[in-house]
């Protein structure tokens, strides 16, 4: 059992605010929920008196579905809000939008927003508990937690493992949350990609930096392949997608040439043939679909633990 039984934070804004015990508590609780979602009846009544608003100012398939399923399996009431079809397009501010939603007696807000720090900003101005489902290129804490959970499930432990994050680290909120989370659990982290896509001072976080994919893969136990986020790239960071995939794409030939069987992860959505080829994504070494399954369990754990704080 974890040393602590309560999260140290009222919100989940980023991995940065969590301590190691918080993370371990979430992963342990997620284990119980993974059990629940594999039963014939996948629903428990814990959060039946809680209403949660999912506010998405940015597109999402996996995260939104995953959160919604997690909420429904905990018996919470759910309202969904997508910015594209709302009054935000009429010029309403973020605080007004959220306060209007809260007036309808909502206890918790799950928010995705294109601006870094949107969750932190909101937490200072409104009363409800906030779960960050991705804020710009800043943090995506539940993704990092589910990645850590998946690594732990596959390898038994996170501590001491070597994880390389490959690709568009510059635009990736998954990368930052993953680095912080894995380090807090005692793993070694390396980032790998073209110089233009690796932030200049990232080594100050205590990660190794490598620009050669083969060297990185030979070092690691786990490779987390990030998506090239073309929608966030305002300038050209590399000559062509074809060249990027030749230099940093993972294919079956490379995977088989390594002297150990590494684990391949991807936060999704996959650009098949760019950062990862189809035969790798669908191979035995890939745990991409396990990550998605674990995502529901981890989010159930986060919501359960946050909700249990309100007396």
């Amino acid at each position: 059992m974890a040393a602590s039984q309560r999260l140290s934070s009222k919100h989940l804004l980023g991995i940065k605010d969590l301590n190691t015990q918080d993370i371990e508590l979430i992963l342990e609780t997620a284990n119980n929920f993974k059990d629940v979602i594999n039963r014939p009846i996948k629903k428990v009544p814990s959060l039946r008196d809680i209403t949660i608003a999912n506010i998405f100012f940015e597109n999402s398939t996996r995260t939104k579905l995953s959160f919604e399923l997690a909420q429904k399996r905990l018996s919470a009431d759910v309202v969904n809000f997508a910015a594209s079809s709302s009054s935000v397009s009429k010029g309403e501010t973020l605080i007004d939008t959220v306060n209007n939603i809260l007036s309808m007696k909502v206890d918790m807000v799950v928010m995705r927003h294109p601006y870094p720090g949107a969750g932190v900003f909101l937490s200072k101005h409104i009363n409800a508990q906030i779960v960050n489902a991705g804020d710009g290129a800043h943090e995506h804490p539940t993704q990092a937690l589910l990645d850590a959970f998946s690594i732990k499930e596959k390898l038994g432990e996170v501590a001491g493992k070597k994880v390389v994050i490959v690709g568009d680290v510059l635009h990736s909120r998954v990368a930052l949350s993953n680095i912080l989370c894995l380090q807090k659990l005692g793993a070694e982290v390396m980032v790998c990609g073209p110089t233009t896509l690796i932030p200049k001072y990232i080594h100050t976080l205590g990660v190794k930096v490598e620009h050669n994919l083969m060297k990185a893969l030979n070092w690691c136990d786990v490779a987390n392949m990030l998506r090239i986020q073309l929608e966030r790239q305002d300038i050209k960071y590399f000559p062509s997608l074809r060249e990027y995939s030749m230099m940093y794409g993972l294919n079956k030939q490379i995977l088989d040439s390594l002297d150990k069987k590494i684990i391949v992860m991807h936060p999704g959505p996959i650009n098949r043939g760019v950062e990862i080829t189809s035969d790798v994504a669908d191979s035995q070494q890939s745990i991409i679909l396990d990550q998605v399954e674990n995502g529901v369990a981890v989010r159930m754990a986060v919501l359960y633990l946050l909700a249990s704080q309100k007396g």
Binding site: V36, P40, V44, L47
Partner: protein
């Protein structure tokens, strides 16, 4: 604090054996019955019952699972301390079976209410029975009564009944703890 021992040593063992014989009267060779111990404290009793049944019925296969009720409790967000889940382990099918729920102490009945909810997530049993080692009489909040009882205890709500087990606490014992005034 004042402790009164209600059951220990040989009498403890006789009580367990009596419960087993009562179970056999109703369940024969357990081919259509399963035992579910309720987390966290009921699992020691269910394990002991399954062991004793194994000695009495060496040829019978006795299914013994453990059931965690945390997510089904009715006091989520109402107590001072958070509810911490335990593991559930049911490696058999309860649909159409006779289920014997096992817990150490029956007090308000709320745990059993939650246990019945939790159990139904695994299927629809033919019949559900309740076995407890200690029945704290006249203290129920819900209309729940046990089918098999180790001992009956009359106690007031400020008192506590604690069952300790050889496996974890070095001794089989039921004690009644009273706060001294």
């Amino acid at each position: 604090m004042q402790n009164l021992t209600l059951l220990d040593g040989q009498k403890f063992q006789i009580t367990i054996e009596r419960l087993c014989h009562q179970l056999i009267e109703n369940h024969n060779d357990f081919s259509n019955s399963v035992i579910l111990g309720i987390q966290p404290r009921g699992i020691y009793l269910s394990k002991r019952i399954a062991q004793e049944l194994g000695k009495i019925l060496p040829d019978a296969k006795i299914d013994n699972g453990i059931l965690d009720i945390t997510f089904y409790r009715d006091d989520f967000r109402r107590g001072d301390s958070p509810l911490v889940p335990n593991s559930t382990q049911i490696d058999f099918i309860i649909e159409g079976k006779k289920v014997i729920l096992v817990d150490d102490v029956l007090w308000t009945g709320r745990t059993i209410r939650a246990a019945m909810d939790a159990m139904l997530a695994f299927g629809r049993p033919e019949k559900v029975e309740l076995l407890v080692l200690v029945d704290r009489r006249y203290s129920r909040h819900l209309p729940i009564e046990p089918d098999y009882i180790g001992i009956k205890v009359d106690s007031i709500s400020s008192q506590k009944v604690v069952v300790s087990w050889k496996e974890t606490d070095h001794e089989d014992k039921v004690i009644l703890i009273s706060e001294q005034v």
